[in-house]
Every structure is written in structure tokens, then in C-alpha cells.
């Protein structure tokens, strides 16, 4: 029997996977992909909760609205983020995380 727990565990694993990617990867674009993965994992948890939290015997659509907003925001973030990465690449010719270490201490 598939319970909410299953979904939550899958979502958690996806979230952790994304986090691991963010920490371990050096290519900023891939890091960014992993971040998108984490957001999606959060969405999965939200949708899961919304399905099993019935309002009027229907899924709770407030949560799904948040998912909708998350996806939109993520899209905007991706756009801006990729723009910054492009700008970075133009000056450093690299998208390696190690190319941004001047500010420290």
C-alpha cells in the first residue's frame, strides 16, 4: 500500500540528492540544475501533503497554488541565474565554482 510516507521519502531523497549535487558539483550550471531538483522535491512534498489533506473532500488547492507559484518563481530564478552565469562566463571563461573565490576571509 503506497502511503503519503512513500511520497515523502521519495521527495526527501530527491531533495537530499539535489543537496548532494549542490555541494559536490563544480560546474555552476549543474549546481543550478540540482537546485531546481531540490525545488521540485519540495513541490512533490507539497503536492503529497495537499492530496492527503482534504478540504471539502478534495485536495487542498492552496498548497497546489503554492506549487504553481514555486514553479513560476523557479523559472524566473533560472532566467536570472543563467544570465548571471553567462555574465560570469564572459569575464572568466569558466563556469567552475573555483573561479569565484576572490572574496574571502
Amino acid at each position: 500500500m503506497i502511503t503519503l510516507g512513500h511520497y515523502l521519502v521519495v521527495s526527501g531523497m530527491l531533495f537530499a540528492l539535489g543537496l548532494a549535487g549542490v555541494i559536490a558539483r563544480r560546474n555552476i550550471i549543474i549546481v543550478y540544475m540540482c537546485l531546481e531538483m531540490m525545488l521540485s522535491a519540495a513541490n512533490l512534498a507539497l503536492v503529497g501533503f495537499s492530496r492527503f489533506h482534504l478540504v471539502n473532500s478534495l485536495p487542498d488547492y492552496t498548497a497546489q497554488s503554492l506549487v504553481f507559484f514555486t514553479i513560476t518563481v523557479a523559472a524566473a530564478e533560472v532566467a536570472v541565474g543563467l544570465a548571471i552565469i553567462v555574465a560570469l562566463f564572459r569575464t572568466k571563461q569558466s563556469v567552475d565554482v573555483e573561479s569565484v573565490t576572490k572574496l574571502q576571509g
Binding site: L8, S11, F15, G18, L19, V22, I28, V31, Y32, L35, M38, L39, A41, A42, N43, A45, L46, G48, F49, S50, H53, D60, T62, A63, S65, L66, F69, T70, V73, A76, E77, V80, G81, I84, I85, A87, L88, T91, K92, V100, T101, K102, L103, Q104, G105
Partner: protein, 487 residues
């Protein structure tokens, strides 16, 4: 008139400015800047008259209590100052922007301001998320705005990655807290948490993640590591904006969230409170200790900002300060109000140094007292206030925090705060000392425009007045009995 008019109006003004710039590229940045400043100032003037109740359809997610009004005013003021600072720093900034344009630097802050004002009123997590993201995404752009400077770009990248990461954590946390309580509204969350049937570990998990996400926004340790790098790399006006505006917005949300988490009878209140204490203590220390070794004033201010966030967190940990007239949220608001003038003054000094072709290191401040005694005095007062010397605004805020901690018997946290404040004496005074050192410095005079002088003077005056006569501000914060009570 409803306050929403101002919020929307400011965003609209931002859009209009963008359009004007797009269709009339040769418009002078002075005109743009002054228009933005005038609009913001107008908004500030209008704000006290915006007590009209909100339309009912907004009520579920938009509230207008004293705290919200205060933070709205706060947002407008800081935006105003940032806009003006941008104008002051323009000659220097334009060297690093594309085609020497600054238009977006005038319009984006207006939109950010609207976002912050919405955050101040948010009653549910969806609103918080949307408004917060509006602010955050705008900041991504602003931080990396001077993209011809490698520092600005690096700061942009770091802020982007870490900011997005924190957004992910926040959303995940929202999901879990929603899962535990079945609602997105703070009020509902508070009610659900007061219900013993609610699953404690789920709620704790969600609350912890939300606090982590918000902790990132307010620069709480261990989520503070972006602050020094980003503050240092970002254009100075943006740093000021981040350090004051974004932090204040983070704290207003944190205050709201904590009202829910710490609502009467909440099953997770002890844990959350303990967590705040731990995080707060850690933050003051991690902000203060490394600051002692900084050579760049801008970076120093970044660490200082972390440290101040720590005091604010500690203030939040002191809920139910029954013997104060101010609630913990009120103390935070008060502290932020004192924090605004002194920090802005600090960044103003930095901006002026830059505008005069000097660096941002402590050694660049050497001999400032000789170059421009007025500016040196203003900066001295600002730093003294940051250090928490009595008779300045900074002291009152710290005093409230210390009193609160002592009242609750949080001696460990109090000792951390004391150690941090002692370390603070060192690094703030280090800069002050540099300003008055005169040996081996060539002493070309440093000019200060009348407007700058006036603005800085007003800020200094605010610091001093708040330092010796804080009563009016406290009155403002306690004006309505409906302040921040989650009940």
C-alpha cells in the same frame, strides 16, 4: 486611502521609470534618480494617512497592524536612503555597469520596496514566499549589477547559488509545516500547533527548515557565510539595502513565523526558543570574532551586520517579556530602527570614500579626521553606536536585549552577547582610531556635498536622539494594543 495604494504605486513607479528609460535612453540619471526619490518621499509622507481598512478580499493574507505599518515605513525610508546613496555613488558605480547606465538601480529598489512592504503585511506563507522571492530575485540582479567588476559578479554568483539553496530549504520547510498543520496561514499554524494532536516531530522538522531558510535571509549563523562576501562584492548602495532592508524584511517574517510557532500552548515553543538562543549566541560570536581581523571596512560592516542579527535573534528568543512594554517583536523593530541610521551612515561613509577615489580598507580611513572632520565625526558616532556605546541609539537596543536575556535567566546567551560586544569594541574602535590617526598621511581635503552633509546630519541626529530620548519610538511601536499578538 489604503496602504495598498502606496505599495502598488511604488511598484508602478518602478515600471514607469523603466519604460521611460527604455523609450528615452538619453534621459539623465539624475532626473531618474530624483524622480524615484521624490516618489518614495511622497510615499513616506502619505504613509501616516493610510490607515484605511483593507478591502475584505485582501484580509486573509494581508494585515495592517502597528508592526506592519512600522516595517512599511522602514522599507520606504531605507529605499529612499538607498536611492539617494545610489545617486551619490553614481559617478563611481557607472564605471562598472553596462554602458554606464544606472536606470535599473533606480527602478528595482522601488519594486523591492513594494515587496518588502508586502512581506511586512503577510499573513500566510504563500504571500511570504511570493513577496520574499520578488525581493530576492531583484537582489540577485542588484548585487550583480556592477557586472564589470569581478567582485560584484562573484558576489552575484554566490548570492544566487546560496540564495536559491535557501529558497529550496524554505519551500521544503513550508511543505512540511503545511503537512503538519494543514494550513498556510500563520494564525492557522498557531492554532494547529496549540493542538496536542498535531504531530510534533513533523511540525518541528518543518519549523526547523523554515527557520533555516529565514535564518539565511537574516544572516543567522551557520547560514551567514554568504554575507561577508556578498556585502563586500555588491555595489555599496546595494550592500546597504541588503544589510538593512533585506534583513529587516527577513526579521518581520521571522517575527510573524515565530508568533505562530511560539503561540500560546504551542507544542514546539520550547524547542524553537532554545533553538533561537543557540543560533543567536552562535551568530553574535561568529559575527564578532572574525570581524576583529578584517581590514576592509565594508567587510567589517558585513560581519557587524551578522553580529547584530545575532542580537536580534536573541531578542526574539526572549518572548513573553512581560515586564517590558515592548513585545519581543517590538524590541526587534526598535533595534532595527536604531540599526538603520548607523548602518546607513557607515555605508554612506564608504560610498563617499569611493566617490572620492579612495578604497574601502581601514587604512584608507586613516587621517579622515583631518581631511573632513565633519564626516569623521559622523562616522565616529555611527561606529560608536554600532559598538553600543551609551547615549547612542545602538546602546538602547542592546540594553533591551541584555535586559530581556537577564530577565529570562539566559546567562549563557548573555555571556556570548557580552563577549561579542566586547570584541565589538575592538573592531569598531579600530576604525575610529584610524580616522583620527594623522601620521604619515597626505591630507588632501575630502569634499562632502551639502546634501550628503544634510542627510548624514539627520542620521546622526536620529542616532543621538534615539540614544537619549527613545520614548517617541517606543510609543510608535506600542501605539495600538493589537500589536503582534498571536492570540
Amino acid at each position: 486611502m489604503s496602504v495598498f495604494t502606496i505599495e502598488a504605486g511604488l511598484a508602478l513607479l518602478g515600471l514607469v521609470l523603466l519604460l521611460v528609460e527604455a523609450f528615452k535612453p538619453d534621459i539623465s540619471r539624475r532626473t531618474l534618480g530624483l524622480t524615484a526619490i521624490a516618489g518614495t518621499a511622497f510615499a513616506l509622507v502619505l504613509l501616516p494617512f493610510c490607515g484605511a481598512p483593507l478591502p475584505s478580499f485582501m484580509q486573509p493574507w494581508h494585515q495592517l497592524d502597528t508592526l506592519a505599518l512600522f516595517y512599511k515605513g522602514f522599507a520606504i525610508v531605507i529605499t529612499l536612503l538607498v536611492l539617494w546613496l545610489t545617486l551619490e555613488c553614481a559617478p563611481y558605480l557607472t564605471r562598472f555597469t553596462v554602458d554606464g547606465k544606472l536606470a535599473e538601480m533606480f527602478s528595482l529598489p522601488l519594486i523591492v520596496c513594494s515587496g518588502m512592504m508586502w512581506m511586512a503585511s503577510a499573513r500566510d506563507l504563500v504571500t511570504v514566499f511570493v513577496a520574499l522571492e520578488l525581493v530576492t530575485v531583484s537582489f540577485y540582479v542588484l548585487v550583480a549589477f556592477a557586472r564589470k567588476s569581478a567582485f560584484s559578479l562573484e558576489a552575484g554568483v554566490k548570492y544566487l547559488i546560496l540564495g536559491a539553496l535557501s529558497t529550496g530549504i524554505l519551500v521544503y520547510g513550508i511543505a512540511w509545516i503545511y503537512g503538519a498543520t494543514g494550513t498556510m496561514s500563520f494564525e492557522g499554524i498557531g492554532k494547529a500547533l496549540a493542538n496536542p494532536a498535531t504531530s510534533k516531530s513533523t511540525a518541528l522538522f518543518g519549523a526547523a527548515l523554515i527557520l533555516c531558510g529565514l535564518g539565511f535571509k537574516v544572516a543567522a549563523a551557520p547560514f551567514h557565510m554568504w554575507v561577508p562576501d556578498v556585502y563586500q562584492g555588491a555595489p555599496t548602495p546595494v550592500t546597504a539595502f541588503l544589510s538593512v532592508g533585506s534583513k529587516a524584511a527577513g526579521f518581520v517574517v521571522l517575527t510573524r513565523a515565530l508568533e505562530a510557532f511560539l503561540a500560546t500552548g504551542s507544542i514546539i515553543s520550547t524547542e524553537v526558543q532554545a533553538f533561537l538562543l543557540v543560533i543567536g549566541s552562535l551568530t553574535v560570536l561568529l559575527g564578532s570574532l572574525p570581524a576583529m581581523f578584517q581590514t576592509s571596512v565594508k567587510r567589517l560592516l558585513a560581519y557587524s551586520s551578522i553580529s547584530h542579527a545575532g542580537y536580534l535573534l536573541l531578542a526574539l528568543a526572549c518572548s513573553e517579556t512581560a515586564r517590558f512594554e515592548l513585545s519581543s517583536g517590538g524590541i526587534v523593530a526598535f533595534y532595527l530602527a536604531t540599526y538603520l541610521p548607523m548602518t546607513v551612515l557607515g555605508f554612506l561613509g564608504l560610498g563617499l570614500m569611493r566617490a572620492n577615489g579612495l578604497g574601502e580598507d581601514i587604512k584608507d580611513f586613516t587621517g579622515l579626521a583631518k581631511r573632513n572632520p565633519t564626516l569623521a565625526l559622523f562616522m565616529t558616532i555611527s561606529f560608536a553606536s554600532l559598538a553600543g556605546l551609551p547615549l547612542t541609539a545602538g546602546f538602547i537596543g542592546k540594553l533591551f536585549v541584555f535586559l530581556g536575556l537577564a530577565d529570562h535567566g539566559y546567562w549563557g546567551a548573555l555571556s556570548c552577547a557580552v563577549i561579542a560586544a566586547a570584541a565589538g569594541f575592538y573592531y569598531y574602535f579600530k576604525t575610529i582610531l584610524a580616522m583620527y590617526t594623522t601620521e604619515g598621511v597626505e591630507t588632501t581635503a575630502l569634499t562632502l556635498s551639502t546634501a550628503s552633509k544634510a542627510v548624514a546630519g539627520v542620521l546622526v541626529l536620529i542616532i543621538l536622539i534615539l540614544g537619549v530620548y527613545p520614548k517617541p519610538l517606543q510609543k510608535v511601536l506600542t501605539a495600538s494594543p493589537a500589536v503582534v499578538s498571536a492570540k
